[in-house]
Homo-oligomer: 151 residues x 2
DNA sequence: CCTAATCCCTACTGAAACGCTCGGGTTTCC
DNA sequence: GGAAACCCGAGCGTTTCAGTAGGGATTAGG
């Protein structure tokens, strides 16, 4: 029940990209360094993101990436679906052919409900939300010294 | 972001066990056949379930398994945690040591919230709920002919 | 006592996925 | 022309997945 590094890194990169409100394209190298990720690996994640229209790329020197849509119009769910495939705890929820006993399988209802919850949340969080969160957190951190939330 | 077969099969087996309201222990062979699972594989899943007290076992001829607690006191989350480890979309949510940048990582908040949602739901569904669901579904199916819910 | 049924334990294994690295190629600005 | 960047596909070591296999221990019934 884990999100892979593909999903996590992609969200981190997109978040990084969203926070810089510059029209200038940002080179991957900067993002990778800033987020502490392998540039070469991250490169592989950008390809599907570009094909899906979540980012735009400029080639050549002074090139880089920009968001393909406003940050408020890109959700975490959007990103995850692109790099990890459908958000679903089990295959049979999205693809009924994946399991012979789809019909009348009681446990299927569990995974279906779980999927709905996950999708609801992930689609409700946009990159704009994350940027705002980061900004306000940086503020309270600066004021309080080192505020932390305990779980 | 998938539940493995360990989790799915364990829930299926526990559900099967919960539906038979007999005090007699149920042999694994029956459960496996009834649910269409490999007996040998299922056997491996029962070991941790037994150690966790979710089932009790009787050895020898006429032996088998019974629930270790009332069906209403066993949640899907309980079962998953036993056979799959902590319910968490990323390691750093349960184990802060798993990631260097735990503090001040914005994306971590996403996974934390996702985790909470998942846990909430999975802990709210008990085996008793599933049995009731199965019973009422079998009823409507019998009356309506072949009722299905569309997503 | 013997035997069949049943749970129990450990090891192994083929296949797939994960998490990258690597070697190139192409485009574009200066 | 050269450096900076994106682009593409291959390969690779490790881990996990999803079982299979081979026994051993325990118990009811005959």
């Amino acid at each position: 029940m884990r999100v892979t590094t593909r999903g996590r890194y992609a969200v981190m990169a997109m978040f990084d990209l969203a926070c810089r409100r510059s029209a200038e394209p940002v080179p991957l190298k900067q993002i990778a360094e800033h987020q502490g990720l392998s540039e070469r690996y991250l490169e592989q994640l950008m390809a599907p993101l570009r094909r899906a229209g979540l980012v735009q790329s400029m080639r050549g020197a002074q090139g880089g990436y920009t968001l393909g849509r406003p940050a408020a119009a890109i959700s975490v769910g959007d990103i995850l679906r692109v790099v990890e495939g459908p958000i679903s705890p089990v295959a049979c929820v999205t693809d009924p052919l994946a399991c012979a006993r789809t019909d009348g399988c009681v446990t299927r209802g569990i995974w279906s409900r779980l999927r709905d919850r996950m999708v609801d949340l992930l689609d409700s969080i946009t990159l704009a939300d994350l940027c705002q969160e980061a900004a306000s957190e940086a503020l309270t951190r600066g004021v309080d010294g080192h505020a932390r939330s305990l779980s």
